[in-house]
Symmetry: D2
Subunit: 428 residues, 4 copies
């Protein structure tokens, strides 16, 4: 039995039936997630948002357990299937974010290697404690868990969907959690009712996680609205994006000049630019990274001889952030970018490190949070694009067909286009 107190779910407890989960929590790879913030730079706009990926991971495993326990009572064929794969589902829930590094999106822009890839690499790497715990539980288990996270696990599509779909335990936890810790005042919904009306059903021969037709529509709308507002007010917050854009620029500069940072090994090797999750030794080097390494690097770089790196690091530490100007569309954005780039170059400032046309958009009802460049990736993913409502006979209808609200949200994605640049330069 291991229990945690949590501001979101109050009590998260795993008892002796879930000893595997307890053992996984104690591995150093899962413990590392304590040192990585869930929301990267969002604390700059919402100072409460300091929560770690560790607690989010516990929360997803907790929700998965709760849902499995609730459905265990109503044993249809699909539910029995879930019961059989309980430990796979919970392990995948706990481990799904294992590959996140510090400020993942900024980091990925430098390495071109996604955190999802790191997650499965860590699970499959024979040297990791996580891998060893999974294999000790059952030979071949690590491969099964990895395939759930990769969404290719064939024996139970329900398990895959519970972790990654329009209505999954991952999003459910992070929306509630990000809402509470930011104090944003948006983004909450009634998770008790959601779990109460969730159903497993089949649509066109594919298992889907959905909701009860009669009782589920409003909570589904609430959940979609929650996502909408969190993108609008939190994930795409101007100040946060400014800091994230600066982080990208700074890391890009560091890599370009192969800055040597004695001793911060994981970061150094990463900046060598050769680090791919399947390169030899890459996993152990990657696992050395956490938020502190990056912040400490910034401290060091404020004394660095490279003027650009020194300048960007100082700005971030002292919170002298880039200014963001909204633009109406891509065309206007590009025009403005070009004009400012020319002017900047004339002043001797390299636009590569000081100017960004930032386009973030979220298809609230279709895709995951899409940072620039993610779109292609997500499209290849196998998550279904709909939330289904099931009637008492198990027939499904798509939420976007029954809900005019969801239909409206669907047509109005949250799209934000901004040009970021050092506004203080205007004043000089």
């Amino acid at each position: 039995m291991k229990s945690f107190r949590d501001p979101v779910h109050n009590l998260i407890a795993f008892d002796d039936n879930d000893q595997l989960i307890v053992d996984l929590i104690n591995t150093k790879e899962v413990q590392r997630l304590r040192r990585i913030r869930q929301l990267g730079m969002s604390n700059i706009a919402y100072p409460g948002a300091e929560h770690s990926r560790f607690l989010h991971s516990l929360g997803v495993a907790h929700l998965m357990r709760r849902f499995l326990d609730l459905t265990a009572l109503q044993r249809g064929a699909l539910e029995s299937e879930l019961y059989e794969f309980r430990h796979i589902a919970m392990a995948a829930a706990l481990l799904h974010d294992l590959g996140h590094g510090p400020f993942s999106h900024a980091l990925e822009s430098v390495t071109d290697e996604r955190h999802e890839k790191w997650t499965t690499s860590i699970i499959r790497e024979p040297e990791t404690e996580v891998h060893q715990v999974l294999e000790a539980y059952q030979h071949g288990f690590s491969e099964q868990v990895a395939s759930v996270i990769e969404q290719t696990f064939a024996p139970s599509r329900a398990v895959v969907k519970l972790l990654s779909s329009q209505l999954d335990m991952d999003r459910t936890d992070y929306l509630l959690r990000d809402s509470l810790f930011t104090g944003a005042g948006y983004g909450t919904f009634d998770v008790e009712w959601l779990l109460h009306v969730m159903r497993i059903g089949e649509v066109n021969g594919e298992v889907e996680v959905g909701l009860d037709l009669k009782k589920g529509q409003s909570i589904a709308e609430d959940y979609i609205m929650s996502r909408y507002y969190m993108y609008l007010h939190v994930y795409f917050h101007r100040t946060t994006r400014a800091a994230e854009v600066m982080m990208e620029k700074m890391l890009k500069r560091a890599q370009d000049i192969r800055a040597s940072i004695p001793g911060l090994d994981g970061l150094n090797r990463l900046l060598e630019g050769t680090l791919k999750s399947d390169a030899p030794g890459a996993v152990s080097a990657y696992l050395e990274l956490d938020d502190a390494i990056l912040w400490a690097a910034m401290h060091l770089w404020t004394h660095h001889s490279d003027e650009i790196l020194q300048d960007l690091a100082s700005r971030l530490l002292d919170r002298r952030l880039f200014r963001g100007i909204d633009v109406d569309d891509a065309k206007e954005g590009h025009r403005m970018y070009e004009a400012m780039a020319r002017e900047m170059a004339e002043r001797g400032l390299p636009p590569d490190y000081y100017l960004t046309l930032d386009e973030v958009d979220s298809h609230t009802y279709q895709d995951n949070y899409v940072a620039p460049g993610d779109a292609k990736h997500n499209e290849s993913m196998q998550t279904s694009k709909e939330i289904y409502l099931f009637d008492d006979e198990g027939r499904a209808v798509a939420l976007s067909q029954t809900s005019f609200l969801v239909e409206a949200v669907r047509k109005h994605d949250v799209t934000v286009q901004r040009v970021f640049y050092p506004g203080d330069l205007d004043e000089k």
Copy 2:
């Protein structure tokens, strides 16, 4: 106008009347508090407890403002006094924790310089942005604010007491905040009611912050019980203390061997052991310190050639914590310490870095949180030891005289004595 969302107080807003506070928030010394956790290592036992000292500081300023606004309506002589010193009171509230470093108690054990001292040094240091903002507001203002924090401000004892007494805005915020973020389930009380029944009065010619006699006793008890439980379950949590003790040991070792950590300037200069808050250049070196610096140092030290430093850093990072054994009293504790120290020495392990007799105790109703060695310091402080209840005529009676509960708590301080050592050695 500047506003923040906060999970504790929901909305913290400072309008144009409080432009000074807004300007102070924007200084880099206040911004640095974003990078220092309120509860040091408590997140190891309560993973939600990642909140920063920055948000706590905003919370204290917010409570101060709310109380001043509430009392402004009921203008007696004492309340008018408060009105006059509004900006001093709010600035002191915002800045009272400015001198905290990362893991303050562990750090103080190495440097023997307290964070309160750093706070006033930073405020008085002409180079700091905080100092300059205060002086720009009014010449001599920094000295006044510093004296409120030092509890020597003579013009209004009420302002001093509102920030530092048995019932002050500082404690009120941190109890609520630590309770919410830890999810501990203890430690909450009704802050609306507390503010509603707070009174300013005089006792033996000294101004005191107290409560309404008829309406305030139960909330006072609730508040005292909140403190009691937070010490018991959070601040003195065995796992947390284990990590804190290890942090002390590690820093002590680093200092003893003058470990060189290229580039982590603040930390390096600190470890040189000469850093006093009134030494030349000390303030700017100290201000470079934050949690990330210490965590990055730990990463580096896991590769250090000194075996002890390398071992302690690795243990902390991988969460292989010392074991803590409860002892009944100081005598038993010393006996056990001596016996274990001998055995340890025989095995070639230096007890100075691997064995601690940890005595923490809190006089719930009398003193501040007392880490080892703090007791002396606190006694010299001028905070009164009582909470007073005022009747309609302003006559005071001490809470400990009217409340059998507080009387009981007063006699039963939270005292915990434990011996900490590396438990895994037993198993070898």
Copy 3:
């Protein structure tokens, strides 16, 4: 100073500046609202919904006070006007529901006299304590307060709008309150933020209560969605409507047979069918009515010799409710109603007392809660149909133009059409 604890607002306190409000609260007409449930029969579907109109009235006065205190800080011309009319605004807020009787909508269907009419009659009636307290405060004050409630108060349109508009203190309180007490899980929004971003402005020469353009759109949407869900899940809940329809039928029968109920004076005189709010003695008779009178009448009627009255009363008391069948539109509804009425008549059951075509609809973004027959009435009211967003220069834009969500909600009113009848008869 008078204070109340409240699950919604926590602490509701009126201090010596608001002695008028305290005196009004102590009148027996306001006290009578303790005995009238806010939500009539909704407790049949949501057993927590037992809250009284008394507490709602306190809540509206409390929100009015909070808003006035917040705006008092930012003294523009419009805000000064508000300050001047503070006591009128608060008195009107407290008294706005004074004329509600038990199960108002059912009662109004029998008497054809609306509760709003009773409210102003009670305020103007020289015999009432409320009238006397208002006149004692200032000669002519009762007339001013009545005119605010009637929305004709010319000296300050802002005061009128704060009490009755798309975004007023009345709705704000009842949405939050009904959501909490029902436990419905919908209908909450962040009232702190709402008050923080509320603005007073002018649109086409008319004062309007609106919101800050930059900060207010999402909370406005939240508020509109809150209304939408409360109609859908609470106010128009099938079980609740069944009970309300039965109450109407029962009262109609009682009036038709002029049932004599010895001693329940108010009810008897009301059933005489001649009771208009401006008839002599009408106000004092009306003030005798409360929920208990109607429930006790039902108890008595279960022993009544009239079979229909006896049957309807027994059904309500034992919760054997009418069955409700959804119909798609008015045409289908009328067809079904006619067919069932014929069949019912053949079986000797009078459709007048056993069959209802119930059409309830709410233009979420335009009108008040519209029970059958209310539509005409509301149209004559002078509330504006829009929520405005004001920019920093005070220019207004309509929410429905900036928000695609509100635009969508506007086009999809909550319209429910059902035929209610005694379903148990099918089974015989």
Copy 4:
């Protein structure tokens, strides 16, 4: 499946495994509890406290189900026993308050028949729907359920203790519920943690419900403090007691003059003074009573020819309450009572109906809420007087021995002595 929304527990759901509970909820005897307030006259001091005994009864059944589900996972012998008696436990939980009448304590003072007696009479009465549902489920079941409520059920002492002991589901629900609905700000505790650390154990051969020794002490203290504050601030509130005392006086007068109230049958037959729960026809007459009957009676009595009855009813309806004067001890109380009685008699006012020496006290850690005259009764009850803490081997230690707080509370019962009389007479 039947589900309810609840402000306290959020979602209360009984699925097909608990069809018996659903059927019991639908009986008219359980439905009657909707019309009886949990806290009698407390809404006079706390206007939110309008919640019904119906919702409390659902809450107790819900907590019982939750506890049984949690313990079902850890099948020791005692837990298996619980599993076997699941339906008895839940039925008893739902029905334990079935015999409450309106304003029970006042009513009992007139009839001298306790509500507990009515509860079991209703369950055993062959005519009631409750009885029939229980017997249809299993022959003899009604007797078993009644014996659980009477605390004599031998097959499982654990079931008895879960419903009636120092730490039972009944109190757990009502403390949380009364705290929330009053908005009192005291009386909450962490019910998730409580359920998490509850244990079943044996003490001196008797099964007891207790708590985990290591994890349960603080929550036990919190729970005890919750009771303490609820007595102090809610149950014994001066204004509430004034109204309750007046209700007693009024009912006494009505009985003394055998006031005829045409048609309010249950009340009339009760006032005939012969109604005992085992008299023929008594149960059906008693079941006609609810809060509305009493309030309607008051309305009628304000027109009654008996001056005393008329006066007392008018005072209650218009909230002109008796004044309460605190007295230090019984001796002073009796002296004051005698003096005032003499003076009153001289003025022609009968003290029997206008003067009360009210002694209420609660042994917070020992007994149930003790209204005057209850003490004898409770002593004969078989509830244990202690909360036990169990270590990992199942050894028990009494909470009062490990907790200095509980020890202190135990010595300081909430005892309030007041003389109530019509204070307005002083002014004449």
